[in-house]
Amino acid sequence: MTPGVDDATLRELVPAVLGVLARRGADFATAEDAVQEALVEAVVRWESEPPTDAKGWLVTVAWRKFLDLTRSDVARRGREERLLAQPEAGPTESADDTLALYFLCAHPSLTHTSAVALTLRAVGGLTTRQIAAAYLVPETTMAQRISRAKRTVSDVRLGQPGDLQTVLLTLYLVFNEGHSGDVDLAAEAIRLTRQLAAVTDDPEVDGLLALMLLHHARRDARVDADGRLVPLAKQDRTRWRTDLVAEGVDLLQAALIRDALGPYQAQAAIAALHADARTVDETDWVQIVEWYDELLALTDSPVVRLNRAVAIGQADGPRAGLAALSDVDDTVPRYAAAAAFLHERDGDLATAATLYVEAAEAAQNLAERDHLNREAARLRSVPGSR
C-alpha cells in the first residue's frame, strides 16, 4: 500500500471528497464514480509521489474525472462554468457532507441489500469487486445493484434530512454479516460507525458502536483452532480484547447518562455485562434479564423474547426459563436450540438431545448446525440419556 497513507486512511477521505463534488453541483451517481476512479489513481500514483494534501489531491483528481465523465453532457447543459463557480468546503460543511452521504446511501426508499451495497461503496470507498467478493456474488451483479441503488436515490437531494434509524440498521447489517473474506466487513462496519459517531450527536449511534466493539472483542474466542463455533459460556475469556471492551463500555456509559435509551444501547448493555464477567459463573444474569425487559419494552420482537427466556433460565433456574419460553412464538429461529439448552439444564437429557437434533435441522448456518449436532451427540453419549 501507499507509504504513509494506508487503505483505510485513504477511504476515510471519501465522504468529504464526495461532499465537495456534490456541493459544486455534481450529481451523486457521477460524482461517486469519479471518486472511485480517483481512488484507483491514488493507489497507483501515491506509491511514487505521495501528496502533501491527500484530500486536496483527491478533490482535484475526482473533479477532473467528473468533468471527463460528464463532458458530453456539460456542453449541452452549459453546466461546467456554473459548477466551477461553487466554493470549496470548510470543516463544518465536511461533517455535514459526511452525514448527508450516510443518509442518502441508507435512504428508506432503498432495500436493505441495496443500502448496504451503496453505503460500502459511496461512504466506505470499497470497490465493487471488493463488495462483490465480500457478499459472494458476481461482480456484475454487485455493479448492477449499486447502479440501481444510485438511480433509486437520484431524485433525493443530498443534504435533505435523513432517517438515522435506517443508517444504523444498514451498518448493523454489515457488521452482522459474518463473512470474513478479503474485506473484513465487521471491521469496516466499525470504521463506518466510528466515522458516523464523529459527525452525529445521538446516543444510539454510540450505543451501536459500543455493541459492535463489545462483540468484536470476542471474535478470536468465538471459533476454536479447528474452526468450531465456541458458545459464549465456553469461550476462553482471556482471549477477549480488553481494549475493545474498555472502549465499548466507556462509550456505552457516556451514552446511557444522556437518558435516551434505545435498542442498540440496551443490546450493548447486555454485551457489556457479559464482558464484565471474568468467568461465566460471575455473569450477572439478573441484570441481564432486566436489560432484556428494557429491550422488550423498546422493541417487542420474538427474538428478544427468546433470548430473555434463556437469560431467565440462568437467573431463576431452568424451570423459570421454560415457563418464559412458553410465551415465545415457536417458529422463531433458534427456538429449539433454546429449549434444548433449558431442558438440559433441567436434567432432562433425552428431551434436550431430541431438541438439539431438531435445532440442528433448523439452523441457518453451517457452523451453528455442526455445533448443535455435536451437542446432541454429546448428550446421547451420556449413559441413560436415551
Binding site: 448492477q144 445493484r145 440501481r148 468484536h216 463455533l229 459464549l232 454485551a271 448456518n365 457452523a367
Partner: protein, 137 residues
C-alpha cells in the same frame, strides 16, 4: 440478504392435473425457442436487478458413484430409469428475503411450453446455509 437455490425439478407429475405436462420433444421448434428465450430473459432481468448469482443447466443423465472399500474402484451405477424426478438445472439468487425468492421462483415456473402455455414446472426453493452472524444473544 440471503442466497437461495431454485432447483428445477422436471417431473411428469409436476403439472396440475388439468394441464398434463407435455415433454419438450412434443413442442414446436418455435415453442422451444420461446422457452429458452424466456430463461435467458429471466437471467438477464436478475442481472439487471442485481440479484443474479448463478444459473446452470444439467445434462439429463448422470451416474451414481459410491465408495466401495479400500483398494477398490468406486462403484458406478445409473441412470435409474424409474426415477421420475430429474433435476434439470438450477439458479442461485441473492435477494432481500424469502418472499422475494418465492416470487422469483413463481415467475420462473411460468416459463412457456407447448402452445405457449406456462409449464407450471416445480421449483424447489432452498436457502443457503450462511456464515454465523456476529451478534447472537
Amino acid at each position: 440478504m440471503a442466497k437461495y437455490l431454485m432447483l428445477k425439478h422436471y417431473r411428469s407429475s409436476s403439472a396440475p392435473t388439468d394441464r398434463p405436462f407435455a415433454p419438450m420433444d412434443q413442442w414446436t421448434p418455435e415453442e422451444v425457442d420461446a422457452h429458452i428465450k424466456f430463461m435467458y430473459d429471466f437471467q438477464d432481468k436478475l442481472r439487471q436487478t442485481g440479484e443474479f448469482v448463478d444459473a446452470q443447466a444439467l445434462s439429463p443423465e448422470g451416474t451414481f458413484v459410491r465408495y466401495d472399500g479400500p483398494g477398490r474402484p468406486p462403484v458406478t451405477d445409473g441412470p435409474f430409469p424409474e426415477t421420475k424426478d430429474l433435476i434439470a438445472g438450477w439458479m442461485v439468487v441473492d435477494v432481500d428475503d424469502y418472499q422475494r425468492a418465492v416470487e422469483l421462483a413463481g415467475e420462473l415456473s411460468a416459463a412457456p411450453g407447448r402452445h405457449g402455455e406456462p409449464i407450471h414446472e416445480w421449483l424447489e426453493v432452498r436457502p443457503f446455509l450462511t456464515s454465523p452472524p456476529t451478534v447472537t444473544e
